[in-house]
Symmetry: C2
Subunit: 484 residues, 2 copies
Amino acid sequence: MVLTLSGSGPLYQQVYRATREAILSGRLRAGDRLPVSRTLARDLAVSRNIVLIAYEQLIAEGYAVGRVGAGTYVAAVVPDSMIRVPSSGRAESEAKTVAAKLSDYGERLLSAPDSDAPIDNSRPRPRYDFAYYLASASDFPGDLWRRLLARRLRTLELDYSPVQGDAGLRAEIASYLRRSRAVDCQPDQILLVNGSQQALDLVARVLLDPGDSVVLEDPHYQGAGETFRSIGARIIPIPVDNSGLQVGRLPRSGRVRLAYVTPSHQFPTGAILPLDRRLALLSWAERRKAYILEDDYDGEYRYEGRPVEAVQALDRTGRVIYAGTFSRILFPSLRMGYVVMPPALAPALSRAKWIADRHTSFLQQAALADFMREGYLDRSVRRARVRNAARRQALLTALEKHFGGAVDVRGAAAGIHVLLHFPGIPASQTNSLIARAAKAGVGVYSAAPYYLKQPNRCELILGYGAMAERDIATGIRLLAAAIR
Amino acid sequence: MVLTLSGSGPLYQQVYRATREAILSGRLRAGDRLPVSRTLARDLAVSRNIVLIAYEQLIAEGYAVGRVGAGTYVAAVVPDSMIRVPSSGRAESEAKTVAAKLSDYGERLLSAPDSDAPIDNSRPRPRYDFAYYLASASDFPGDLWRRLLARRLRTLELDYSPVQGDAGLRAEIASYLRRSRAVDCQPDQILLVNGSQQALDLVARVLLDPGDSVVLEDPHYQGAGETFRSIGARIIPIPVDNSGLQVGRLPRSGRVRLAYVTPSHQFPTGAILPLDRRLALLSWAERRKAYILEDDYDGEYRYEGRPVEAVQALDRTGRVIYAGTFSRILFPSLRMGYVVMPPALAPALSRAKWIADRHTSFLQQAALADFMREGYLDRSVRRARVRNAARRQALLTALEKHFGGAVDVRGAAAGIHVLLHFPGIPASQTNSLIARAAKAGVGVYSAAPYYLKQPNRCELILGYGAMAERDIATGIRLLAAAIR
């Protein structure tokens, strides 16, 4: 019998695999005697010991049986029906791509346009990148974070930790939210999640059945739309104006289960929902027995006036689920965010989190708890606010200087991005404009993918949270030159 | 008007909140003039500046309007309908617990018995704790892990990272699985998940609709049963014997979508599925067009013979989804595991992961990639194998010494737990036996919660992976004394 060694790994594994292949392909049949180890070793030019180890493994796995003093034989228990014509690696991997029958959920996942990456971060970054979600590496207190992690590693809890998150961290988050956002909450209402995307998914799963209606701002964060659509929900888009969600256009009849809103800084238009609309939204939710998912993704940054109180803080009947993230204050790849759960939803949401992944990875929770307890988060937010205010000023100054009245800047009162509207440029030219900017080394991004009903004008989203002021100024200068 | 300050936080926040409460409760009505700042400051015994800041915030949020030289007034836009009778904190939190209408998924989550914590880790640990899932703090290379994290923190990628996981880490996992478990896979088939629980949830979502049938071993890991039940799947339990799943009893008709199995070391009985049953299981899956979810939760540890090849390694038609975890080789609170996806399922599973949480937290992925690349994982596994073999020997020796023929030890050939069966003790006495052991400082755990069809005998699960040999010996001696 000829065995050919191939592939990588230790020699005994190669011998083992070749022999096993011979058995599975039927070249060696039940009851056949395997080659004498000394002979095979010579044929393959390996040591006899290698062959013996390979045979031992075949015996251990039931492919072969050893008979004392009588050699090694192919086991009788390998059913004939399983023995196959050998296939090359290529044919094998082709055979493995039979069409899969998926669940309705799986089918919906695949039928959605793959729009999760409005910004393709596998490609090299432009020199002047106004990507809206980037965190500033220069603002991130890396040394401090390293020290906190190292300290916690010394006494790391290896065991599973609580599903809702570390108790100390939840207490810090509740206190932070009460203090900075007037959010009305206790630590046992906090659910730690892997960024706001997990908040969206868990809320969607726990509240929505296929066919249920969900109100979304139009435009909105794509991940939200995709999450609700994947659950099978029916999307009711409500347009946004300069004051955010047009609450007067909320549906007055029909069963709506949820409204997903970004009142502190509407994504992506940047509008801030004023108090009367907040109250009207709450009143609507109570009448319709709907929940409100308030996504406060960058509520830390407000430059004009004080931070507006969260809708959650106005809620008296437990209709608001409040979600926040550390992506904008720390960094996105941390994957840490939180939900403030109305008490009535806490059992189901906590249980859904357990089923999803038992709990968020512990080490960085512990470091984050220390970071907050020792006052570093407050300090970071204050410093980032000052830094981002300077960046914002640089952006507004450069836009005024290079565009003047040719651009309409929206959403600059808060957050770390603005929406630019160019009245003189038709919507159809947006993509070529972006391509020209990219050629000049400037990354700017169309707002169009965030709309269900396409706007009839050229709109760009420009983030500035990760850029130096000087780069902002240069980037806008280059952008203006590219547009002209 | 009398305002009472209460609560915590800066004074200006207290003034702000008290005034806001007066507006929302209707004590101050639209158009009312707010108290003159100097007067209110005197009444409340705070500085006038405090009041001015509070008013400024009320104006910023739209509760009030300032008229130059004419004081501050309650805004006209606060709709009358929103003005409420003030409620005490207590009444408020009661109002917030209105019964929630949940999705079918949410309802199923809550209707399941809350059995996720067979071991309540909020309670103090017994001195001799045979909890099956614990990792050994003394085996964990804490200093090394700290060094790797610190190194990666210096160049940390702050931005979102790939949904399937870091490319370097996926390459390492694929190579490790090919090498150590003969798993047939490429890096692009690897999906990094937050522990095997997330693998279960994603697979269940992508493959199962409510009413679909799933085969489970009986007994089995509870988290699996609960995950499938929460999706609304119908569970078909198949009994396990000393050779694991009784494949001859798999359903021969009807649509079955998935079989969830633990062939390397059946959980919790510890049986190892022999080759003929593995082949029969594959053949069944092909005939029934079902998928196999192979959970290889502790495949690293085998003491008798070499590790058995994974079912995935025998699969020629892409029917096997292979899942593994770093919980047993590193530690559970890391929350890191992986799925080897059949190519046909890769798009849906990756998309489901994106919707679930975009990607697993990056820093520890990067550290783990280095840990594997630099050979530390192989070294850790080898060392842990030696250490666990010694622990196992200590356990078997102590059981023989103190129980002799009175106990039947199962599942000792692999993994880091055994199943004890006491022929002389009726099943009804299991809990009192466990309570007596707990009094003596020994933590042992009933296998009964893992069964759908309750066994008619006393069975205990004893993990030994986190214990010193000497503690194992003492624990078993105390257990024997407690039982007598």
